[in-house]
């Protein structure tokens, strides 16, 4: 189900790249790294202004009714710019989860998610597990109790989809965060607004429980993984290009360093990783809601994470000393590569999920 982008999609890709390029400001992003609790408001204003927050919300709820393909293109442009408030991805997770909600709940949140007025987070992980079985956070009588560590966007989100235990079964619930206590996390990629959330009788609504909740949670993670894969591809490709340009320009021993095979081949290998990841990301986005989506999302996640981590390592190496400086800013990508690698579940989780899909869960 690989696709060739249509004209509207090409336009979204072009326009999001153009806008983000015009508003790029490395100093602003570097500053964010040194502050806990701040985020890239300029990016978020842009996202609202450009309608990116509305992209994947159903038309009936004030959205544009588009999906993973289009959101992926915006994410790719954001990845290239290491732009992005973290909730572009998690908002989509919440939109997906709300498909299981009643009309009233949908009407309450979806229009405001579309306008960017409300920000959503996804709080699944506990300990180092992205989808703990069973979860320690519990839901009963409309109240949520327990602790979720390192929730992306957790510091500012208004609502969260939470993976919880309910009557001995797993459940997906929607929690309001107004009164929830949040502990900001000093992190290596501060703009992601990581926070530990402590739910104490927090008001929440049950969306799904039992096996249905598990399927929906996996689908939600897969959707976020595909958006993130696009963001990772954007980042990896940007690093490939910046390293390529540097290799063509910088001279050592009387010739551009790009004439040395160690550099040429490193970049050619990186090109391969980027193109494989891109192809997997597009393929997965086009399969949303269809059989095979989970496996395709896993393949996209694995190849995009490998591409971005490798790009971060290799682009710095090609740059030599200048690549290691704070002002040079390559570490913006390096840090983002690692935070994105963790946010949607680590490689071990996705490898196992993919093998279960290929070999049968009994395996």
């Amino acid at each position: 189900m690989s696709i060739v982008y249509d004209e509207q999609q090409e336009a979204i890709a072009r326009e999001s790249r153009r806008v983000l390029y015009a508003r790029a400001d490395k100093a602003r992003l570097l500053d964010l790294l040194e502050r806990t609790g701040a985020w890239d408001r300029t990016f978020w204003d842009t996202a609202v202004e450009q309608g990116w927050t509305a992209l994947a919300v159903p038309e009936a709820q004030g959205g544009l009714g588009l999906g993973l393909i289009e959101l992926g293109l915006v994410a790719q442009a954001s990845g290239a710019a290491t732009a992005g408030a973290p909730f572009l991805t998690s908002n989509y997770g919440v939109v997906r989860a709300l498909q299981a909600a009643d009309a009233e709940l949908q009407a309450l949140w979806l229009p405001r998610l579309a306008t960017g007025e409300v920000v959503g987070a996804v709080a699944f992980a506990e300990g180092n597990a992205i989808l703990p079985a069973p979860p320690a956070v519990t839901f009963a009588d409309g109240r949520l109790n327990g602790h979720k560590p390192g929730v992306t966007a957790g510091l500012v989100a208004d609502i969260a989809v939470v993976w919880a235990e309910h009557a001995g079964e797993p459940a997906l619930v929607l929690a309001e965060l107004a009164a929830v206590s949040r502990q900001p996390i000093d992190s290596f990629d501060n703009g992601r607004l990581f926070a530990d959330l402590a739910f104490v009788d927090a008001p929440a609504t049950l969306l799904l429980s039992g096996e249905a909740a598990r399927f929906a949670a996996l689908d939600l993670l897969a959707c976020q993984a595909v958006v993130t894969a696009h963001e990772q591809v954007g980042g990896a490709e940007a690093l490939l290009f910046v390293a390529r340009d540097y290799a063509n320009e910088r001279k050592a021993f009387g010739q551009p360093i790009g004439a040395f095979q160690s550099v040429k081949h490193r970049l050619a290998e990186l090109y391969g990783l980027v193109e494989i990841a891109r192809a997997n990301a597009i393929h997965a986005a086009a399969l949303e809601g269809q059989p095979g989506f989970l496996a395709a999302a896993a393949a996209a996640r694995l190849s995009a994470t490998k591409a971005y981590d490798t790009a971060a390592r290799d682009a710095v190496q090609v740059h030599g000393g200048i690549g290691t400086t704070w002002e040079g800013g390559l570490h913006l990508h390096m840090r983002r590569a690692r935070s994105l690698a963790i946010e949607q579940g680590n490689m071990l989780f996705w490898e196992d999920l993919l093998v279960d899909e290929l070999a049968g869960a009994g395996a």
């Binding site: 696709i3 040429k264 090109y271 393949a299 993919l354």
Partner: protein, 402 residues
């Protein structure tokens, strides 16, 4: 896509109907001569059923369909293990180049039809002992003699030369010219006086398929010339462009991921099911993700071709990435089989057997462009990085130190 999908169905149905006669199982244990005969018979059956020369001009025996139709047929054909190897170079490279450049059109058409129907086989005489990756460094020489030419020298790695009726060849007509300049392109009768073919035994499994070919005062008519005198390098480069659209095998011409999963399901690692071992799971997941990506690249390229667009250059990744990965996956499979994997049949197929796949992988990483050359090409042509230093540039051929 529905017309293409229908074509795919039709192709699959026909392939299934002939698989009992020509497919993998039917070929088990055949001698070299029997295998070749089966290949010719299968090619004849393809021609009769309208599946040969799918994207060629009907004037030349083709079907007049698009390259996409050809790729679709090849994708379907791949799984059956048909004896198609003999015709890859012949129909993929040599005959098309003859059809494009031969001076006698009627003769060329005759050859095309004979090749499509499996009666005649062509080889391509490019590589030489002195240079595998460095095509332009070739030393086989051609000199004018009367109103024709005289050929002397040696070619190496010539695929199926031992079964070929004709070949296309590039030789040096002027050693005083720059390396790339003094070359001329011809076709050649492989049964002509002075041509000697000697098969090369490879380390890999299976029947011999590459050869050394020696030329001892072989006489060529000027009518056999396929390029301007001294203009052969451009023609050789053109041959490399002819086969842009072929089905690729994301498994790198080795066993499928499903084959590996089956092995893992049947094996244990230190007393636990191998399919539950993280190392094995990682290998499966990583191989699958990489192969899915290569497959998605091919599918997207086909969709672009179907829409009249030019596919991107990422199609060039396939062999580089897939064969190298297959080599390591095959090693892991051998490890996993342990003492049970020591038994081995030297005629086993690389598509099914892990040891055969592992033994043949080095050939795959070298033939048709070594890994290092492919990486250079990607770096230079796609990414725009500088060429390597080339001491042979701008120097007459006979002044380059040997």
């Amino acid at each position: 896509m529905s017309e293409i999908e229908a074509y795919r169905q039709k192709a699959r149905a026909w392939l299934q109907s002939v698989a009992p006669t020509y497919g993998r199982d039917a070929l088990q244990g055949l001698s070299e001569a029997e295998h070749l005969a089966a290949g010719r018979a299968y090619q004849r059956a393809k021609f009769a059923a309208g599946f040969a020369g799918i994207h060629w001009d009907p004037e030349l025996g083709g079907q007049g369909l698009t390259p996409l139709h050809k790729v679709v047929f090849e994708q379907e054909e791949m799984g059956f293990g048909m004896p198609i190897a003999y015709f890859g170079v012949s129909l993929g490279i040599s005959v098309p180049i003859v059809l494009r450049f031969a001076q006698d059109r009627a003769w060329a058409r005759e050859r095309a039809i004979a090749a499509l129907s499996g009666d005649e086989i062509w080889c391509q005489l490019f590589s030489e002992p002195s240079g595998g990756s460095d095509l332009a460094g070739l030393r086989t020489k051609v000199e004018t003699e009367g109103n024709g030419w005289k050929l002397n020298g040696q070619k190496l790695w010539t695929t199926f030369a031992q079964h070929s009726d004709y070949g296309v060849i590039i030789a040096r007509n002027d050693p005083k010219a720059l390396k790339h300049k003094g070359l001329t392109f011809f076709w050649l009768d492989m049964k002509a006086q002075g041509v000697t073919v000697r098969p090369i035994k490879l380390a890999a499994a299976g029947h011999d398929h590459v050869n050394e070919v020696f030329f001892d005062d072989v006489r060529l008519d000027d009518g056999q010339r396929l390029s301007p005198v001294g203009g052969g390098f451009a023609t050789a480069m053109a041959t490399l462009m002819i086969e842009r659209y072929s089905a690729s095998d994301p498994a790198g011409f080795g066993p499928t991921t499903a084959t590996f999963v089956e092995l893992a399901k049947a094996s244990e690692v230190n007393g636990r099911p191998a399919i539950q071992d993280g190392r094995i799971r990682s290998a499966i997941a990583r191989s699958h993700a990489m192969r899915m990506g290569l497959e998605a690249i091919t599918t997207r390229a086909m969709r672009m071709m179907a829409a009249g667009m030019e596919p991107g250059p990422e199609g060039s990744l396939n062999k580089l990435v897939s064969v190298r990965s297959r080599q390591k996956l095959s090693e892991l499979a051998i490890d996993l089989m342990g003492q049970l994997g020591l038994a081995w049949d030297p005629l086993a197929s690389s598509k099914d057997d892990w040891v055969a796949s592992w033994l043949a992988a080095p050939t795959g990483r070298i033939a048709g462009g070594a890994d290092e050359m492919l990486l250079n090409t990607i770096a230079e042509k796609i990414l725009g990085l500088p060429q390597d230093h080339r001491p042979d540039k701008g120097v007459p051929f006979d002044q380059i130190p040997a």
